[in-house]
Amino acid sequence: MSRFARVLTLLAMPISLWGQADRGVAFPHARHARLFLMCSSCHTGIPTGDAARSFPPVALCGACHDGTVQPRVQWAPPVRSGAGLLVFSHPVHLTKAKDVTCESCHALVDSTQWMNVAHAAPERCISCHAHGASAHLADDNVCATCHRPLTSAVALTDARVAAFPKPPSHARADFVSAHGAAARAPAANCATCHARESCQRCHVDGARAPTIRALGNDARVARLEVGRAPVYPTPADHRGSEFALLHAKSARADPARCSVCHTRASCETCHTGDGARDFLRSIPDARQATAPGVKLRRATPTTISTGPLAPSGAVRSTSVQQALTGQQDTARHTVSVHPPRFVRTHGAMAASGELQCASCHAQRFCSDCHGGERVTRRYHPNDFVSTHAPQAYSRESDCSSCHSTEAFCRACHRQVGLAAKANIRSTVFHNAQPLWLLQHGRAARQDLTSCTTCHQQTYCIQCHSDLGSRINPHGPGFDAARMSSKNPQLCLVCHFKNPLAK
């Protein structure tokens, strides 16, 4: 501590001690104890409620403090520019409570000395008014008994508001997440210390939540809240791994609860589709929101390449990472949206509409895979080109659900030299099997799709058509009439004329 600071501290000490002794009452009552025998000598207006005469005139001081008898003093009665926080009537108390005297409230508890007084401590009030309340700032107290709402206490300065004591309950770890019920209770005490702006720092729905709207606006609170970061603790039921999948039911049951922390933009982080549109309209639009709200970020869907490890050939489910962004981050956790192997089993659920895919996914999400050309590698592992043959033959992954076998598979097979050449005689047979041409019939009927990834139609027509060897490729169950009725031109690819035509 510097010398200058020490001097300042020493100078300030007597002032501080004097202030403590008088408990904030500027007039030193105790030093005038022998001078005044009754409170009403000076405070003549108190019993009647006459505010103008609640304090003595300055001239009364000057009767003694005239510079001769006593030094002159500077004192002025307090000026009330408006209502304070306290709702109190001296006349009512003096009238209704016959045994109440000035000392009942203003005498210091530890003193019996005349005029050793101070402002009335709240504990004195609750000794009569809040039966059973454990303390002034306890939850079980009813503030409105003695206090008016902050928004009505226009006499208070910003500093006074900022200096309000913090109730012990507000320091509890779960207070932020659990205060809603207490705030909505009929006997809620919030309005004594808070205005709408207090809530709107965090509450997205501050403009329309009845409890918050009831508080009213207050410029002092607005000034005090500027720059304070919102707090969004993660509710316990949000922490389960299935929450992302199952939250629809609870959300629809109580949209107002979601609207406390989430804007529509928050939902639209995942719900980019149409399915949840009706529900999302009940969530505040971020443009009208009174607070930033929880900002979700959709993690890049986990992939073979980048996500946590997945079993061979399988792909992890899409996940949503509830990581908040920016300086207002207050919670984060990751949840899985879909179960394992979902990427391979989603077909029926998606097609039936049981899963409302459009709630979260745009069309692009589906076409990203089913469009035939993937760039983000969510489905196949990196080495799939080396290992895809068995899956293709068995249709374990139905290649044609995403790829055009002609354009995608055949083009690639042609580039790497696998695709069949135009002339049968110019092509080396399948894997060193010299009699393959005689064996290929069963293989072709069992896995014809695989054949088409290398062979063009003209390759087979060389033998299986009127143009070639006229080897009949139709099986016993072939319904020529049915197929011809759907596309008569098809027959003419191989036949000189439609064999069904009369």
């Binding site: 009174t290 993690a299 946590p308 035939g372 080396s386 068995p390 047979f429 319904d479 197929m483």
Partner: protein
């Protein structure tokens, strides 16, 4: 030009949007392999007689009687390619309630490399994946433009209109327009299709489809879909199919049904019934019965070749003990093909089995190991994998994998083993920028010197995912 015109027409609307979001994925890949090439050798240097012989090392060769040379295939020189893909997504909304626009485009090119356009469609430099306007109201929704319809029949893109009417629990949808080839997203008469098939469709197709869905509650739903693709001159159809899909999640069980019927051949393409436990169980299982037969559109002759299907039974078991870092999975399938009536003795069944163990550490580490065997009529292999991943933070992750695949046999490629190692990494540079990269080496070793090509490959990719703009009103403001 038509594609550009689509975008230009939409541009003023997009720019006037109250909300606009542009996102993109830039991908650069590297692929290196040795393609198969056809070589020839003097017929007198090849032992044996007849057309089918083997050259030195057992490599099969064709020795036509009319030629003095035998032909065989071998691995050519190593070639590489570095395709670059740029995907751009533009979404705008906010003019009137429910009105929005969305466009997805893709550009392709190639950096250097010696293999030409090794990547599929590498010479197709620009593609509009979708571009549509949407008006979405409570009971109905309309879309106009290039769009997708997804359902039991798969995913189809088309240029046209789609309308949905959806009173509570029920919806009716219809769509129509110029059809695009599934999995290609180009018109039937496109150059992309003509480049790979010398009997391509001569006319465009027009798609007409409809769907009815019933969803009495969040746990049960069913949908019926019908779609036909008409040849432009109305002389016939390219396809006509219907699908029925149903799902329920009641009483702790999950039941899924999927049926797809092809009117052209009068047969079922797919029929699946899957029964399993609901999600979130420590011990879960599923049992599935499936019939599958390939589907071919009627611009190809393949459907007339009477392809047969197979019947398959699948089962999975997943066990994740409570309060354990480990989880275990087993899976298996057995299938049998229908009679082909070809009189040829060839394998008519197949089976598949596998399992894996996963370990998720309490921290950021995870590991897994798996073994799979797949025996089928066209190919068979076994596959062993293990890997270790580390998620250093939400913004940074790494992963390393080792794999070994034994190619037991295959119709086209020689038997052998592939040993592979790969590395992946991802870093989120900013909240709206993410960098992903991977590299892998896959070494092909032929079994005991068996004849075949060398499929040793090196692959890698770098991907940047980025986004501009925000969701509407994101951020809020104090009032």
């Amino acid at each position: 030009m038509k594609r550009l015109a689509l975008l230009v027409l939409a541009l003023p609307t997009v720019l006037a949007a109250q909300g606009l979001r542009i996102s993109g994925v830039t991908t650069v890949q590297f692929i290196e392999l040795r393609p198969l090439i056809t070589d020839s050798i003097d017929e007198t240097l090849v032992p044996g007689t007849g057309e089918s012989r083997t050259v030195e090392g057992g490599v099969p060769a064709i020795c036509p009687v009319t030629s003095a040379f035998c032909q065989f295939e071998r691995s050519g020189n190593r070639v590489s390619a570095a395709p670059v893909l740029q995907d751009i997504t533009v979404a705008g909304w906010g003019w009137v309630q429910g009105l929005s626009f969305r466009g997805d485009v893709r550009a392709r090119t190639q950096l250097g490399g010696t293999a030409g356009f090794l990547y599929p469609r590498g010479d197709d430099h620009f593609e509009v994946l979708d571009a549509y306007a949407q008006l979405d109201r409570d009971a109905w929704r309309g879309r106009l433009g290039r769009q997708w319809v997804t359902g039991g029949l798969g995913a189809y893109a088309f240029d046209g209109a789609d309308a949905v009417w959806r009173p509570n629990g029920f919806s009716l949808e219809g769509w129509a327009g110029r059809a695009l080839v599934a999995g290609l997203n180009e018109p039937y008469t496109s150059a992309e299709l003509a480049a790979v098939d010398n009997i391509p469709p001569q006319q465009n197709g027009y798609v007409f489809g409809g769907r009815a869905r019933y969803r009495p509650d969040a746990l049960t739903a069913a949908a019926f879909t019908y779609q036909r693709v008409l040849v432009a001159d109305r002389s016939g159809l390219y396809s006509e199919r219907a699908a029925l899909d149903a799902s329920t999640r009641r009483f702790g069980a999950a039941v899924d049904l999927g049926l797809v019927y092809d009117f052209a051949t009068g047969g079922w393409n797919e029929a699946r019934l899957r029964v399993g436990t609901g999600e979130g169980r420590s011990l879960g299982y599923s049992l599935e019965a499936r019939h599958s037969r390939p589907f071919f559109e009627l611009w190809t002759i393949w459907g007339a070749f009477s392809p047969v299907g197979f019947d398959e039974v699948r089962a999975t078991v997943d066990w994740r003990p409570r309060a354990s870092h480990f989880s275990y999975s087993l899976r298996g399938a057995d299938r049998k093909y229908a009679e082909t009536n070809t009189g040829i003795d060839l394998r008519t069944n197949g089976w598949r089995a596998g399992g894996d163990v996963r370990w998720q550490g309490g921290g950021a580490l995870a590991a897994s190991g798996s073994y799979d065997v797949d025996i089928g009529s066209g190919a068979a292999n076994t596959d062993v994998r293990t890997g270790l991943g580390w998620m250093a933070s939400d913004n940074l992750s790494f992963r390393a994998d080792l794999m070994m695949t034994q190619n037991i046999y295959e119709f086209r490629i020689g038997t052998g083993r592939i040993y592979g190692a790969s590395f992946d990494g991802a870093v989120r540079v900013r909240p709206d920028v993410r960098l992903v990269m991977d590299a892998g080496l896959y070494q092909h070793v032929l079994t005991n010197g068996a004849p075949g090509p060398d499929w040793t490959q090196r692959r890698g990719s770098v991907r940047v995912e980025w986004m501009l703009g925000q969701d509407p009103g994101m951020g809020g403001k104090a009032q």
